[in-house]
C-alpha cells in the first residue's frame, strides 16, 4: 500500500539577486502515511520551511523546483501551479509560521474561515456559517466567538483559529510550520494536545515543522532531521534519541536542555555551511566531533539502516569484510 504522501528528491534553488543560486533544499525525500505524525526538525536556515512550501507549490518565482510530490500516488507538482492548486487546502493544508498574526484584522474570524469554504466551492451562506461553527468547536473555540475580530482573541485562540481555517476543507494532510514557537509553554501544551486530538479524531496525517526537538519527541511518531538543506537522519523518534546514527542528531539532542537530565547542554561549535556554493564532503564535517578523512572528500548518502531508519553518515558504513 502506497503512502498518503511521498516526497521524492525534492530540490529547491533560489536565484540570488546578484547572481548565482542558493541550493536551499537538496534531494529531500520522505513519506507520510495516513494518521501518522512526522516531525521535520532543524535549525534556522536548514531548509525545512522551504521544503514544505515547495510541497504546496507556494514558493516565489525566484525559486526553481525539481522532484516529485506524490499524493496518493499522483505527482501533483508535475503540471506546475495548475496541478497543485486543486489539492491545496482540500488535500494538503498548512498552518503557516506566524499564522496567528496573519489573520485579517478587519474581518471577523468566522468570515475568514468561511472564505476558505467559499473559495473552494464547498459551502456558502448559512451552510458555510454552520460548518464554520463546527470547525471552531472542534478546535476548542466557542461557536459565538467566531463573530469577533482577531484582535479580540488571545494568541493561543488565534492559533486555534488558524488551525480551524486549515481544516476547513477536510484535508488529509496537515502541515504545521512552527505552530507553537511564539506561544507560552502552557498554551503550547494546549495546542499540541489539540493537534494530537485532531489527528486521532479526523485521521489526519501531520507534518510538523519545528526547531524544538522536545515538541517532536512529545507529539510525533517519526522524525526527519534536516541540516544544510538535506535530511541527515530519519526514523522513529525513540530511536533518534536513544540510538542516534548521525552526529548532528546526537549533538542536537545534547545541546537541548531538559528539565530533569543531568549535566549541562553543550553547544555545537561553528555554523552551517553556505548553500550558495557547492559543498565538498559531508556538510557537517567541520563541526562534527567524529569526522575522519573520508568525511572531507565524499558526501555521504542517506542510507537505510533497517527498521525504517536511515542516516547520511560514513560512520554507519559497514567496513568491507565484516558481516
Amino acid at each position: 500500500m502506497s503512502s498518503l504522501l511521498e516526497v521524492e528528491e525534492l530540490n529547491v534553488w533560489f536565484d540570488l539577486p546578484h547572481g548565482g543560486t542558493l541550493h536551499a533544499v537538496q534531494g529531500v525525500s520522505f513519506t507520510l502515511d495516513r494518521g501518522e505524525r512526522l516531525g521535520l526538525v532543524g535549525e534556522s536556515g536548514c531548509g525545512k520551511s522551504t521544503t514544505v512550501l515547495g510541497l504546496l507549490g507556494l514558493l516565489p518565482p525566484s525559486a526553481e523546483l525539481s522532484g516529485r510530490v506524490l499524493l496518493d500516488g499522483v505527482d501533483i507538482l508535475a503540471g506546475g501551479e495548475e496541478s497543485v492548486r486543486p489539492h491545496r487546502w482540500v488535500d494538503l493544508a498548512i498552518v503557516f509560521q506566524g499564522a496567528m498574526n496573519a489573520l485579517n484584522p478587519v474581518q471577523t474570524v468566522q468570515a475568514q474561515i468561511a472564505e476558505a469554504l467559499e473559495v473552494h466551492g464547498l459551502a456558502s451562506g448559512r451552510a458555510a456559517r454552520a460548518r464554520v461553527g463546527e470547525l471552531l468547536e472542534s478546535v476548542g473555540i466557542p461557536r459565538e466567538r467566531g463573530e469577533r475580530y482577531p484582535h479580540e482573541f488571545s494568541g493561543g485562540m488565534r492559533q486555534r483559529a488558524a488551525i480551524a481555517m486549515a481544516l476547513a476543507c477536510n484535508p488529509s494532510v496537515l502541515v504545521a510550520d512552527e505552530p507553537t514557537t511564539a506561544l507560552d509553554v502552557m498554551v503550547q501544551a494546549q495546542i499540541l494536545e489539540l493537534l494530537d486530538a485532531l489527528c486521532r479524531d479526523f485521521g489526519l496525517a501531520l507534518l510538523l515543522v519545528t526547531h524544538d526537538l522536545p515538541v517532536v519527541a512529545q507529539l510525533c511518531d517519526r522524525s526527519a532531521v534536516m541540516y544544510a538543506g538535506e535530511i541527515v537522519e530519519h526514523g522513529p523518534v525513540d530511536a533518534l534519541f536513544h540510538d542516534p546514527r548521525h552526529p548532528y542528531t546526537r549533538l542536537l539532542f545534547a545541546a537541548t536542555p531538559d528539565l530533569h537530565a543531568n549535566g549541562a547542554p553543550v553547544s555545537i561549535p561553528g555554523a552551517p555551511p553556505r548553500l550558495d556554493r557547492p559543498l565538498v564532503g559531508c556538510p557537517f564535517h567541520e563541526r562534527c566531533d567524529r569526522a575522519f578523512g573520508r568525511c572531507t572528500l565524499e558526501r555521504p548518502l542517506l542510507r537505510g539502516l533497517g527498521g525504517e531508519r536511515a542516516a547520511a553518515c560514513h560512520l554507519n558504513d559497514v567496513p568491507a569484510g565484516v558481516v
Partner: protein, 318 residues
C-alpha cells in the same frame, strides 16, 4: 578557516548602508533614473557655477535685435533686450539654484530640528510641535508667499526665508516618523541603559540613521523650492535686481514674446526649470525607494514557481 559567517538562510546579502557618501553614490550608480537625474543636475550646477567665465556673451550686452531668431552664433536666440538666451539661461540657473539650495537649507534646518525634537522627546513637546506643523501645513504656500513677498519687499534673502519657512513641514513629518521608530530600537534602549545621555544618543545613534532619508527629503525639497522661486519670480515678486529663470520667463511674458512669436524666449527657460525640478525629483525618489527596505518582499506571488524536469535521480533514497 574564515570566521565570517553569512547568516544561514540569508538569501539576499542586503547590507545596511553605513556611510552617507556610500549611500548617495550607490543609489546614483544603481538606478538609471537617478543617474540621469544626477547627470542633468550636475551639468546645470557646473554651467551655473562657471557662468561668469563660460557664458558666451555678457548678461546685459545687447548683441542683436529684440527677439532675434536662433542662429548659429545664438542657438537659443535673443530676448527682448537683445541679450543672448544661452547666457541668460546660465545666469538664470545660477540664481534659481542658489535660491533653491538656500531655501532648502533653511527648510531642512527647521524641519529637521522640529522633527527630531518631536520624535525624540514625545509627549507634550510632540503635541505642541505637531500642532504648529499642522498650522503651517494648512496654510496654502504660494498665496502666502505672494502676500509676504508683496508686503516685505522683494529681495533674494526675503524670498529664501519665505520659501524656507513654508517648506519645512514635510521634512518635519518624515523626520519625526523615523526618529520615533529608531527611538524604540533595542540598541537605543541599550545605550540609554548604559547611561548614555540624550545628546549622545541623538548624535551617535539617531542622526546617522535618519541621515540618508533626510538627504532624500532634501533633494526633493530642492525641487519644490526651485519651483516656488520660479513661481514667485514669474508673478513679479522676485528680486528685480537678480535674474532667475523665473524672471526670464516673466520678462518674456510681460514683453510680448508670445505675440511676437518668439518661442525661444519662453520655452527654453521653462524647459530648464522643468529639467532642474525633474532631475531633483528623480534623484530624490530613487533614494527614497532604495532606503525603503519593505519594498523587497517577494513571498507568495501570483506567478507560480518554476519546475525543472527530472533528469535521472540524484542520490539513493530510502
Amino acid at each position: 578557516m574564515s570566521m565570517v559567517f553569512q547568516e544561514p538562510g540569508l538569501l539576499s546579502g542586503t547590507q545596511p548602508i553605513r556611510t552617507l557618501r556610500g549611500s548617495l553614490w550607490k543609489v546614483i550608480r544603481g538606478q538609471p533614473s537617478a543617474t540621469i537625474g544626477a547627470f542633468i543636475l550636475g551639468s546645470f550646477i557646473v554651467l551655473a557655477l562657471l557662468a561668469p567665465w563660460v557664458a558666451p556673451y555678457g548678461l546685459h550686452e545687447q548683441v542683436g535685435p529684440v527677439y532675434g531668431h536662433p542662429s548659429w552664433s545664438h542657438p537659443l536666440g535673443l530676448d527682448d533686450g537683445g541679450v543672448d538666451m544661452v547666457t541668460l539661461l546660465m545666469w538664470g540657473a545660477r540664481i534659481s539654484l542658489v535660491v533653491g539650495f538656500a531655501a532648502t537649507f533653511v527648510s531642512i534646518v527647521i524641519g529637521g530640528t522640529v522633527g527630531l525634537l518631536s520624535g525624540y522627546l514625545g509627549g507634550k513637546t510632540d503635541s505642541v510641535l505637531m500642532r504648529i506643523t499642522d498650522y503651517f501645513l494648512a496654510i496654502p504656500d504660494v498665496p502666502l508667499m505672494i502676500v509676504v513677498a508683496a508686503i516685505w519687499g522683494p529681495s533674494l534673502t526675503h524670498i529664501i526665508i519665505v520659501i524656507g519657512v513654508l517648506l519645512w513641514t514635510g521634512t518635519a513629518r518624515v523626520v519625526r516618523a523615523q526618529v520615533k521608530s529608531i527611538r524604540e530600537r533595542v540598541y537605543v534602549k541599550r545605550a540609554r541603559s548604559l547611561g548614555a545621555g540624550n545628546v549622545r544618543i541623538v548624535v551617535r545613534h539617531v542622526l546617522p540613521q535618519i541621515a540618508p532619508l533626510l538627504i532624500a527629503n532634501t533633494v526633493l525639497t530642492i525641487a519644490v523650492a526651485i519651483f516656488d522661486e520660479t513661481a514667485l519670480a514669474f508673478l513679479g515678486l522676485g528680486d528685480p535686481s537678480r535674474i532667475s529663470l523665473g524672471k526670464v520667463i516673466e520678462n518674456a511674458f510681460q514683453r510680448t514674446a508670445i505675440t511676437s512669436g518668439a518661442w525661444w524666449a519662453i520655452v527654453p527657460p521653462g524647459a530648464a526649470v522643468a529639467l532642474l525640478i525633474l532631475s531633483c525629483s528623480m534623484i530624490g525618489r530613487a533614494m527614497e525607494d532604495a532606503l525603503n527596505p519593505r519594498l523587497k518582499a517577494a513571498h507568495l506571488s501570483a506567478r507560480s514557481f518554476r519546475l525543472r524536469p527530472l533528469v535521472g535521480r540524484g542520490k539513493d533514497a530510502v
